[in-house]
């Protein structure tokens, strides 16, 4: 079973942390990438670099910034191969964002 782990971060969650603390968090993300269940993942640039596109009457309509202002901002994702939901949930719970005021949404992928 493949799952997407969608990482939502609380803006400013890592502000005020020391260099060492930031390095420790980065190390956790690197360790996660080394897990054998990990198929891949990407980290997104900050939300203020986003452009949102809608198409109305065939015309693209652009908005500066993310789709909506929310308390959590989508910050990246992993794709994992896990035997069942419990295994995917175990990985999700290890993602640092989840304990820094953010959340991780676990969604199974459509298998064709």
């Amino acid at each position: 079973m493949r799952y997407a782990l969608l990482i939502n971060e609380r803006p400013g969650a890592y502000e005020g942390l020391s260099e060492d603390q930031r390095a420790a968090i980065s190390a956790e993300y690197i360790a996660l990438m080394k897990d054998e269940r990990m198929l891949g993942g990407e980290r997104l640039q900050p939300a203020d670099t986003a452009t949102t596109v809608r198409v109305q009457n065939g015309e693209p309509l652009l908005t500066d910034g993310p789709f909506a202002d929310t308390k959590e901002i989508f910050g990246g994702f992993y794709i994992v191969e896990a035997s069942d939901l419990d295994s995917a949930l175990e990985l999700a719970a290890r993602i640092p964002a989840a304990r820094f005021g953010g959340s991780v949404e676990v969604r199974p992928l459509v298998e064709l």
Binding site: M1, S83, D84, D86, P108
Partner: protein, 386 residues
């Protein structure tokens, strides 16, 4: 007679079919088909030697037939991971009891609580969808959707049909216990006795499957101790308080069983919320209630749960130990305005303190929130007696 066999066998048969087919929806259809065939055949030919095995084998073979005809569906299940088996025949010893796996799957915390409850009643209790809908006061269509959404999530997200790993087990077990207690409480306080009986039946099954789990024993004890007083709790359509109940109406067999189970739980070191609640229920069945002990147990329970409702109950015990004034001080510090027993407890304490006007207002507040006719009658009489 057949109905009894069906109820007894449903959970085991369903679990075996989920295990074999790897899909709850398919298992449900297969189990239903097997039971329909059984109803016809057994009425004519009598019971087979081993009804459970007969049902599992029949359900399996039906499902295989159906999958052969419908390959696209087969591809969505685990069945295509291995070659489709030929017609199966087997004896009982080869059919393992996998109801515990089924409990943990149905009560997986990735499912909403209401879905956990509905699935558990369907899969392990064998209740029909309309029966579950009636019990939870929603229409059939809503319950059907709730169940089908839950089955779909189990399939799509691969919620495991397995006993959780050691480190997950305590939290997963407490989810199962919470579902059973929820079912029990849904049937408590009104006439839906069948739900309480169902919860007790499921509690027995769970304890059979996990005999060394003290909290499972404690939960069953708690349910039995509460249920033993069912017949005495309402008289002529009016709610009767514990101290005024006719003890001859208590179910002594349930009471004794509940006490023995509590004893067993405590002796094996249980100290969780169900144990404490069962211990309180047990103390309250004594001829002379040891109120200081009840208050101390509520204090313990408050530490375990942090619940304001528990604190309200502790106040009731404190009223017996230190008097109504001390109890009222505890109650008035709580923020439970939407809770009917908050108002009725305050009313009772105010009445005892002789503050009739405040007591009247509080009884009216409770009456506003009362949910059953028996409660309303009780409160109305109290009001009239002021």
């Amino acid at each position: 007679m057949l109905e009894e066999v069906f109820r007894d066998q449903w959970g085991r048969v369903f679990a075996a079919l989920v295990s074999f087919l790897g899909d709850v929806g398919l298992a449900e259809e297969a189990a239903q088909e097997a039971f329909v065939i059984a109803a016809e055949r057994w009425a004519r030919d009598g019971l087979p030697d081993n009804p459970g095995a007969w049902l599992v084998v029949t359900g399996r073979n039906r499902a295989i037939d159906r999958l052969r005809r419908d390959r696209t569906r087969a591809e969505k299940t685990r069945l295509l991971d291995r070659p489709l088996p030929e017609e199966i025949t087997m004896d009982e010893t080869t059919i393992p009891d996998e109801r515990l796996e089924l409990f943990f799957m149905c009560c997986h915390p990735a499912l909403a609580t209401e879905a956990q409850v509905a699935l558990t009643l369907r899969a392990l209790g064998g209740l029909s969808t309309p029966e579950i809908a009636r019990a939870f006061l929603v229409n059939d269509e809503t319950m059907k959707r709730r169940l089908s959404r839950a089955r779909n999530k189990i399939r799509a997200a691969a919620i495991p049909f397995a006993i959780p790993d050691e480190h997950l087990l305590p939290s997963r077990l407490s989810a199962v216990l919470a579902v059973l207690y929820l079912v029990f409480n849904q049937g408590y306080g009104d006439s839906r006795a069948d739900l309480a009986a169902e919860a007790i039946r499921l509690g027995r099954t769970l304890l059979d499957l996990m005999p060394d789990e003290p909290e499972a024993a404690a939960l069953l004890a708690l349910m039995l101790l509460h249920d033993s007083r069912r017949a005495a709790r309402v008289c002529d359509g009016e709610m009767i308080l514990l101290q005024d109940q006719d003890r001859r109406l208590w179910n002594t067999a349930q009471l004794e069983e509940g006490r023995a189970l509590l004893d067993r739980a405590v002796r094996s070191g249980a100290s969780g919320t169900y144990t404490v609640q069962a211990a309180i229920a047990e103390l309250q069945t004594e001829e002379r209630i040891d109120w200081p002990a009840v208050a101390a147990l509520y204090d313990r329970l408050r530490q375990l749960t942090g619940s304001a409702v528990v604190e309200l109950n502790r106040a009731v015990a404190i009223a017996e130990v230190e008097g109504p004034r001390a109890a009222l001080a505890i109650v008035d510090a709580l923020h439970l305005d939407d809770y009917r027993y908050f108002h009725s407890t305050r009313a009772e304490l105010l009445r005892r303190l002789g503050d009739t006007a405040a007591a009247r207002a509080a009884y009216l507040g409770a009456l506003d929130l009362a949910t059953t006719e028996a409660e309303r009658r009780f409160l109305s009489r109290r009001l009239a007696e002021l």
